[in-house]
Amino acid sequence: METVIFITTAIVAVGAALGMVLSSNAVHSALFLILNFCAVAVMYLLLRAPFMAAVQVTVYAGAIMVLFLFVIMLLGAEKADLGSEPIGWQKPVGVLLGAVLLAEGIYVAYKGIKLVDAPITAALGIGQPTTLSAVLFSKYLLPFEVISILLLVAIVGTVVLTRRTVKLKEAE
């Protein structure tokens, strides 16, 4: 059962990724990307990490992609002409890096490397929200708080940058 679900999800994920890269319409690309995110979320579920799956859908497929779509729709950029590549060396380097990643993947699949050396039983409950939050709010409390302050700084920054100055109004 799990194998069947995994293979189906994997095909959907890869197909969606291809569709995202290959489709000429930006909105279609965005939709394919959402499908890809959802497929990845199903994979998290298969790995017994329901929390990650839910967050993946909420944050990536939900919040971030809505903003993407919003921008594409507002700018009317869905039919943007790509034209010539402005950075010449980008394509060959991309192909090279992709080949390296592929080789790495094949090597790992061939050798069957144990990436984490720990008993499987310890990993079973790790995706539960209670386990995650217990670690997050004790062992990793400082990084957690630092990240929240970082996000706050980003919010304040956006507000400052997009704020209209009073001078503009006086000029009118």
């Binding site: 839910a54 809505v66 209670t130």
Partner: protein
């Protein structure tokens, strides 16, 4: 939990059918009550007292011509109503509707998915729900539809924040009296309902609405949920006077019906959630201790009554308040509702910790 895949499939089909029937009769209820509030009679011709009106509507819509604008994006235009409907249906999976029935030694649970990430699932599903309307507006290739789509995206993102923050209040309050006694909050909706069992002073139910911060969260939740389902007075997405019909202008036949259905099903789901988070779900003092199948039936009826109460409230609001102006909508969402929900959340956190210390 489940003996076989078949039981699961039958259960989900039944749940979807129940939601569909609920939607059909909600439209009738809305039309009847709105008519009464406006001193009209309302639909009363199809069947006894107009009771077959939803059926007549459905048949009519099914036989309408399905039109697609020439310049529409074919795929997205077809996909949009589906994307709008699916989240509206699958929300119901995590809502506890009552106690378990026992038929012929088989437990039949009224909570389809009793999962630990229930609340996160809910947030995930509602955040996906934005796409249907937004894409419909874009794919129609019509400036009014487009405006409706853009408005919906902006509105839902703005109110999702307040929505997400207020649903954290019940999570924290669950930590306050968690039935398992471990003092942890829970994202599981069944645990939340269990945490609202019992009474204060013997007559006030221990529902989260009767806690020092819960009532405020409840009010913010109702406002944010109304905006989330784009109901009046937050229905700028389809404002007939300015946008013709907003995102649904170009849609006809069953595709239009699907948007309609999604909106009303979401309304039912939000009503059920309001009952679950703040009014104790299917619990009612004195009635929750009745065991057996009768107890399960009563618990389900209690839940149903609570849902209908919220639906009535929504219809009442629609009949009372005019549509809010767009800039005011944004102002209200970001400058009023968000700070209030943040403050409520912070106050709840302090409250729960203080109570724990005492």
């Amino acid at each position: 939990m489940y003996e076989s895949l078949w039981v699961m499939i039958i259960h989900s089909v039944l749940l979807a059918l129940a939601a569909l029937t609920g939607f059909a009769y909600l439209t009738l209820m809305e039309r009847k009550i709105l008519a009464r509030m406006q001193h009209r009679v309302g639909p009363n011709k199809a069947g006894p007292r107009g009771f077959l009106q939803p059926l007549a509507d459905a048949v009519k819509l099914m036989f309408k011509e399905d039109i697609m604008p020439a310049d529409a994006d074919r795929w997205v235009y077809t996909l949009a109503p589906i994307l709008a409907t699916i989240p509206a249906v699958i929300i119901f999976a995590v809502i506890p509707l009552g106690k378990d029935f026992v038929f012929f030694g088989e437990r039949v649970t009224l909570t389809f998915a009793n999962i630990d990430i229930g609340l996160l699932y809910l947030l995930a599903v509602t955040s996906i729900g934005v796409y249907g309307i937004t894409l419909a507006g874009w794919a129609s290739n019509n400036k009014y539809s487009m405006l409706g789509g853009v408005r919906s995206a902006a509105q839902m993102i703005s109110y999702e924040l307040a929505f997400g923050l207020t649903v954290l209040v019940p999570v924290m309050l669950t930590a306050w009296h968690n039935p398992s006694g471990d003092g942890l909050g829970s994202l599981n909706l069944t645990t939340m309902v269990d945490a609202q069992a019992g009474t204060y002073l013997g007559f006030i139910p221990r529902w989260f609405i009767f806690t020092p911060t819960g009532w405020l969260a409840f009010i913010v939740f109702l406002i944010a949920a109304t905006a989330e389902v784009t109901r009046a007075p937050f229905d700028l997405v389809e404002a007939e006077q300015e946008l013709v019909g907003g995102y649904a202008t170009e849609y006809s036949s069953m595709k239009f019906a699907l948007f309609f259905m999604a909106e009303y099903m979401k309304l039912i789901a939000m009503s059920a959630l309001a009952a679950t988070f703040f009014l104790g779900g299917w619990r009612f003092p004195g009635l929750e201790n009745i065991g057996g199948n009768w107890g399960a039936l009563i618990s389900f009826i209690v839940m149903l009554v609570k849902i209908i109460f919220f639906l009535f409230l929504s219809i009442w609001v629609r009949a009372t308040f005019p549509r809010i102006r767009y800039d005011r909508l944004m102002d209200f969402g970001w400058k009023r509702l968000l700070p209030v929900s943040l403050a409520t959340m912070a106050a709840t956190a302090v409250f729960v910790v203080l109570v724990d210390q005492l």
